[in-house]
Amino acid sequence: MWKYLAKRLALGVLILFGVSILIYMLTMLMPADYIDNQTAAALQSGAMTKEDVQHLKELYGLADKSFTGILKSYAKWLSNVMKGNLGRSFVYGRPVTEVLSDYIWISFLIAFISYILEIIIGIPMGIKAAVNQYSPYDYTVSVFAMMGASLPSFFLSALLMNVFAIRLGIFPLQGLTTATKIFGPNDHLQIFLDKAWHLVLPITVLTLLGVGGTMKFTRTNMLEVLNSDYIRTARAKGLSEKTVTYKHAFRNTMIPLVTSLSGMLPGLFGGAMITETVFAIPGIGYMALRATQQGDIPFVMGYNMFLAILTVSGMLISDIMYMVVDPRVKLS
């Protein structure tokens, strides 16, 4: 077992190397004077010196465009990354890691809550659809799932905003807090409620978009399990349909479900770029989008490496979860 995990870990590291190379190659697309343009203001105000600018150029491979030059800069950048130094953001003027850690928690909160909701709603619906295959319930739920995957997030957000924020006025339109309200130093509960109020619509959007996928996945796996021999044996033993479905069948469906949940890791910590921007929630996705649009190389590269690390970690966690949940895998 350990050998298998070690192999997967090595594969993960290899993949991360590859991803880092690809991401680094993005900087190749930058025109020669790109960094000059970006740092002009900082240079003038004295926040950066000429050496700093040259240092940056070297770091991002824009100083020496020969092959060895690029190789050297890549090595430098990579060694920085491994030390935990993701560079200094142009747009935010702070170390990238600092920006990430500041804004990641809101994104995590939104994503986490919507995942929980997706699971609570999607899994039971998927089970019921599988047990009643071809019934009207099954069709409705399947169509609903596909609609969820067909809606662009910004469109759904705009629709919900129009109906609930503007017309019905129940929820606030944008932002995390109500700017016009002033809270005293001890109004923790009120601050919390105010923030929660602002988060209802974004969480709703994320949940609606994702619940269809969970439901469809559950349904497909349940159907496969329900057609297997051991379910027939369970029925022959005299167990009620309910026991057969929820104890025997579900336990087997859990296996692929649990392993797929780890694939949600990048979404959990990576933020939802579009939805956060539309609702002006100051999360990591929002910050990353702004940085991307304004050409903030350090931030963008740092953020993408971060996402890649999350994805690979998710892969590894999936493998481990598989071993935990499926008794057949333990000994191999």
């Binding site: 033993k237 005299g238 009620s240």
Partner: protein
């Protein structure tokens, strides 16, 4: 030899198989209506016992099947898997049901357990009477689902063909066995169930029952798993064990052991076994009574001696001749019954074996033959014989 078939149209095509889209839609709609009716019947709760209590025709039988019809309402038509099957399973005997794949033997057994895969599969007509140990006699076709659950696994148990996939891979063996005990026995506790399970594992010949009790299914071999399945079936002392091709997926050496085990168990608990197989050798070894099925009907039944020594129906005779282990003279060709089983969706209304039979006569294509009685236990459905059981004379048999 020509092969007559009434369903051909001018092009010589059996239009009963190829359906247009409109026909398929119509079939789906009709099926939906019929299925809904049956499912509603089965799902009734709190049905009064009087509705499904009945009397056995012969009190020495455990199960009596009479004119059973089990159909599957599929998208391409109605598949009549069991099309008028009647036989008895007497107390303490082994009834062997033999026939080709698709002849309906498995579906018959599933019908007894009310396990026909729904909602397309339904018991449409007929009666299955079961006599319980307390003397009460139940009409299984009328029993609602929740009542049937009490009988399944406890009074009537089933062993399936594929031991490799018949056990739930995520639960330990012990857990799956205890489940049966805890479900059906009122005063059982986890400890008493465990004791019983281990005892049962020992009885089926497993050398280290505690270890197997704590194992997962994938840790055991096929033969071991089948023994576990048998143990699980026997654990509540059932009156009837239905074994659906229990040894087909196993090695020949294990086969013998398992069969021997089944026979021992039967003696011990004085139960009955319904043994389904396509292997005549197994039938010869194990069965007391033999039922030969073809295309959803019984074409011959009798004691094992009668069937093996004097088979009457050409199909039975063909089966006997096709056994590879039979002593053949050198140079003799291996015998096989020519042709194929007819299309299960549109069965003809004459003898199903007509176009494969080497003794077929004109009368065979004009209606389904009646059952001819050769002895109180031996029946066959064939036009070759007169009503009193004697064979028709050469002149009476007009060759095609």
């Amino acid at each position: 030899m020509s092969f007559l078939n009434n369903d051909k149209n001018a092009e010589g095509v059996d239009s009963s198989v190829y359906l247009t889209l409109r026909e398929e839609r119509r079939i789906s709609r009709e099926n939906a209506k019929i299925i809904k009716k049956y499912e509603r019947e089965k799902n009734r709760k709190k049905v009064d016992e009087k509705e499904y209590l009945t009397e056995m025709r012969d009190p020495s039988n455990v199960v009596e099947i009479e004119n059973l019809h089990t159909y599957f309402y599929t998208d391409v038509g109605v598949v009549k898997s069991v099309n008028g099957v009647s036989f008895d399973i007497p107390q303490g005997k082994i009834v062997g049901v033999v026939g080709e794949s698709g002849c309906g033997k498995s579906v018959t057994s599933l019908s007894i357990m009310q396990l026909v895969p729904g909602p397309t599969g339904q018991i449409v007509e007929g009666s299955i009477r079961y006599k319980a140990s307390d003397g009460k006699c139940y009409e299984i076709t009328k029993m609602p689902r929740d009542r049937m659950l009490k009988i399944r696994g406890k009074d009537i148990a089933m062993i399936f063909q594929e031991p490799m996939t018949s056990l739930n891979p995520v639960f330990k063996i012990g857990y799956q066995m205890d489940e049966v005990v805890l479900l059906h026995e009122e005063e059982s506790t986890p400890e008493s169930a465990k004791k019983k399970s281990i005892e049962m594992l020992k009885q089926v010949g497993i050398a280290d029952p505690e270890k197997v009790y704590a194992s997962y299914p994938h840790e055991l071999s096929g033969g071991m798993r089948q023994r576990v399945m048998i143990a699980m079936a026997l654990i509540c002392n059932p009156r009837l064990i239905i074994a659906d091709e229990p040894t087909t997926a196993l090695d020949v050496t294990i086969q013998a052991q398992i069969l021997e085990l089944l026979r021992e168990i039967k003696e011990k608990i004085n139960g009955s076994i319904m043994l389904i197989t396509h292997d005549l050798g197994v039938i010869a070894e194990m069965a007391d009574i033999v039922v030969v099925m073809y295309a959803g009907r019984i074409i011959e039944q009798g004691t094992v001696k009668e069937i093996f020594h004097s088979p009457k129906h050409p199909y039975t005779i063909g089966l006997m001749k096709s056994r590879p282990g039979r002593h053949i003279k050198e140079g003799e060709k291996l015998y096989s019954i020519k042709g194929q089983v007819p299309n299960p969706i549109n069965m003809p209304d004459y003898c199903y074996f007509y176009n494969r039979c080497d003794k077929a006569m004109r009368v065979c294509s004009q209606g389904y033959p009646d059952l001819i009685k050769f002895s109180p236990t031996h029946y066959a459905a064939c036009y070759l014989y007169n009503e009193d059981g004697s064979e028709k004379s050469a002149e009476e048999k007009e060759r095609r």
